[in-house]
């Protein structure tokens, strides 16, 4: 199955663009959606051990080192869900058939890159697939070809170039001590020469490159521009999964499979996590643009994931993985809501909105669910992952970090309340009497994502003991 997850998107991309198949363009949306849905179903059933490995026949011909772990399952599931949400949002927001076709192509390309990132156990191929995703997202951000989009895209390209240079340099340095770039080989080589200056430099560069990709403070400043200037469906994809997989997932996998968390790397991750959690939340408080606020909120939530990872315990890493998944779901949900609002009102300025929940009840209710999950209000999924991280930090002796994680919860609540007050909750602002609820193809992903968030919270027990905790234990051996 891992092979299929890379081959099928690639094949679909090629088939859709065959010159003879212009007719296929009309149904391209549904083909892409079916592929993403297949990924969701296949991953979910694979988690349950229900289906045999269909792609095994291809394995001998693939040179890539693919591995399907519990962690990749969680990430692949999130990828499938967010890609679906983004596609449905695009269906509502992009009217033109050709444009929608192009968008579908880019999403499928990004999906291939993300799947590869989630499955690889080799540094150089990891780098290649991160770049595939990045190329697709450069274009997605500038999809509308307006000046804002180009600016956001340009910033992302520049910082990505820095990250790329850092990643490549670190791989080159690792090659000095390691026979090849597979995670296992690098880890073994590092264990031998762990105090060498070059090895430490390489590890530092690797982490820095991924910090940039993940948008952690102090490398966060490209992220609000990119998220807010991208067209709505692209920002769902970017915020929900692209930066999370190519930055945060890569950090989780690198720091657990190559470096040893709990050492110096763990401390760096922990400090950046604290700074990101606080700074992101404070910056979010001051925003007027709905998508920028959500973008800064991402910076803050990613800080939580880093705190869990930095704790170095199985519970903490499991909490980080769970929060990764939850964040993908609730942040996509909130961006889908933002798309619905932007589609109906034609603005993202929260000071020009007010009380629109009365006109857009579904969007209003689902936004509250996303917000509660993000703010860690029980019993939604985000509460459980945050509590896991907080308890893990406390048990690992990082009391200060634990206190910070708890208190940032108040800031999170504060900015989300301010968003609710300015956008949804309250009296309908004058002049907004004509607005309507968003179209069905936006409400479908919003409701589905909200249901996933609620279900992951209510069924915490099986989710924790069957899926999340085994992943944490596997990563921290």
């Amino acid at each position: 199955m891992p092979t299929l997850l890379i081959i099928l998107p690639l094949a679909l991309l090629l088939i859709l663009n065959l010159p003879l198949l212009r007719a296929a363009r009309r149904v391209s949306f549904w083909l892409c959606a079916v592929l993403a849905l297949a990924q969701v179903v296949a991953t979910a059933t694979h988690m349950g051990g229900l289906i045999p490995d269909l792609g095994a026949a291809f394995d001998p011909y693939i040179v890539l080192q693919l591995r399907m772990t519990g962690l990749s399952e969680v990430v692949l599931l999130a990828i499938g869900i967010v890609v679906l949400a983004s596609l449905f949002t695009a269906r509502a927001m992009i009217a033109d058939h050709d444009e929608r076709f192009k968008f579908g192509n880019l999403v499928i390309l990004a999906m291939m890159g993300l799947n590869g990132t989630a499955l690889l156990a080799d540094l150089i191929s990891l780098y290649v697939f991160i770049e595939i995703t990045a190329v697709s997202s450069f274009i997605l951000i500038a999809f509308d070809r307006d000046s804002d989009g180009l600016e956001g895209s340009f910033k992302y390209i520049i910082l990505s170039a820095v990250a790329t240079a850092a990643l490549l340099a670190s791989i080159a340095l690792f090659m000095m001590v390691s026979p090849d770039t597979s995670f296992a080989a690098v880890r073994a080589a590092l264990a031998v020469s762990q105090h060498s200056f070059y090895v430490n430099l390489a590890a530092g560069l690797l982490l820095c490159g991924l910090f940039v990709k993940g948008g952690l403070v102090p490398f966060h400043w490209w992220l609000p521009d990119a998220y807010s200037s991208a067209p709505a469906p692209a920002s769902v994809l970017l915020a929900g999964i692209i930066t999370k997989v190519s930055g945060i997932y890569a950090l989780i996998v690198v720091s657990t499979s190559i470096l040893t968390v709990g050492g110096a790397a763990g401390e760096v991750i922990m400090v950046l996590g604290i700074v990101s959690a606080i700074a992101g939340a404070l910056l979010a408080l001051g925003q007027r643009d709905m998508k920028r606020m959500l973008a800064y909120s991402s910076v803050s939530q990613v800080g939580y994931i880093m705190l869990g990872l930095g704790s170095g315990t199985a519970l903490g890493v499991a909490g980080a993985v769970f929060h990764f998944f939850n964040h993908a779901i609730f942040k996509s949900l909130l961006f889908v809501n933002a798309a619905a609002v932007e589609g109906s009102l034609g603005t993202r300025d929260m000071d020009r909105m007010g009380g629109i929940a009365s006109k857009m009840p579904v969007t209003g209710v689902t936004s509250i669910i996303g917000f509660f999950s993000a703010a860690g209000i029980p019993p939604l999924a985000g509460f459980w992952s945050k509590v896991m991280i907080i308890i893990a930090l406390w048990q690992a002796g990082h009391q200060t970090a634990s206190v910070v994680a708890v208190l940032v919860g108040v800031l999170t609540l504060a900015y989300f309340l301010s968003m609710q007050r300015r956008v949804f909750f309250g009296r309908l602002r004058e002049g907004l009497g004509e607005i309507r609820e968003a179209r069905m193809s936006i409400l479908v992903p919003a409701v589905s994502l909200a249901l996933i968030t609620v279900a992951a919270g209510l069924f915490f027990k099986p989710v924790f003991s069957k899926i999340i905790m085994p992943v944490g234990e596997m990563l921290v051996k």
Partner: protein, 483 residues
Amino acid sequence: MDNECLLACAVGVPVAGAFLMPLVGRASKTVRNLLSLILITVPLGASIALIPTVLAGKTVYISAAMPLGFNISLAADGLAVFMAIVSSFISAVIALYSFDYIDHYENQDEYYLMIVLFLGSMMGICYSANLIPLYIFWELTALSSWRLIGFFREEHFVKRADKAFLTTVFGALLMLLGFIMIGQQAGSFELAVIRDKLAAEPVSAVAAGLVIAGILAKSATLPFHTWLPDAGVAPSPVTALLHAAVLVKIGVYAYARIFVATIAAGAFWDQAIPAIALASTLVSAGAALVETDIKRIIAYSTVSQIGFIFLGLSSGTELGVTGALLFILMHGIAKAGLFLSAGIIEQKTHVRDITKLGGLVKTMPVTAVSFLLCAFSVMGIPPFGGFFSKYMVITGALSGGRTALAIAFAACGFLTIVYLFRLFNAVFLKEAPSQEILVKEGSHTMVFSIAMLAVLSVAGGLLVSYPAEFGLEAVKQIMGLVK
């Protein structure tokens, strides 16, 4: 039905049933209203049915195992059943009153959803036997009160709803930290395990302080009290439910559950809590003396009376703690009556400033008499219910050796009398500033609700021995366990 099933119903039925409200509301308003009343009376009935068992000294316990020790455990002992009956009964009266009050506003489905969810979470808090579900239900009450306070959707109303939400969640998060510290020390979040493990080694003052911060934030005690008067912008039944009768009592109940029935707060907090309570009582009584908004006066009065409850709970004597429990009952009934009367006045006159009110005793005789009876109970005039509870709390403090505190609180009791008479005079007795302010009584259901609360305030005093005996049993049960 067996006891375990009753206990599960008391919490599960309202929490799950709340989410039916928007669905049922689409079909029929009447059915929805009745269903909400039924969902609130189910826990009341279930709790009453549990009385014989707990009076026999038994504890009903059910538990669903969860990872990390987050077990959803519920236990019914005397204290829990007492609190559950008080809060669900008052909530039922308030729900009855809402039928007419809320009838002509928008978002009624959301209103009933939140009211029932709130009551369900309250039941969850009463019966929780594990710190984690206690925290979960605690946050659920915070989120339902957020929606309820912002019910009218005006911008500055929503801001105040946000303030209440932020303050209580800030406290709750501190409390969660405290819970984690206690849980680490005891190796479990189960209250029964914590009680056994920590009988010999007291928790650190920091852990206790964090939990107490959460409690003070919820019960609107100094220094976290300002959200309560601000939350008076909510519809009157909501202010009565959340801010007089039930929500603020959650904090007090959690104090009783954790620091009276489970662990010792430590020497520092044993001294500090009554001092904080006294400061809170004095400051808010002063504020109630100068405020001119009818609902803010009553809200400050609540802040002030909560201090008496803390005094009783921290006295360490059976008499004081029993008095505090009675105080929860009597104050809940009487204060709900005051808020609901204020609601009738506000809805009929559209005025909340007492300088613009007056003379209403002529046109609203039933409301006026009910208001006065409830006010007597809050003041602590014999033989009303409030007298016995206040007397027991202060005597409890005296017998605990805190003479100076007891005297100071008695003086605060005098202030209560002053500001409530000032309020009664300004609204009902003094000459009306204009004729148009003289309006007729509210609807029958609404007036019936407050008259019932007034009668109960009287009956609570005349028949005080029944709740007092039950309270004493409950207190013996929990205090016997600690010592």
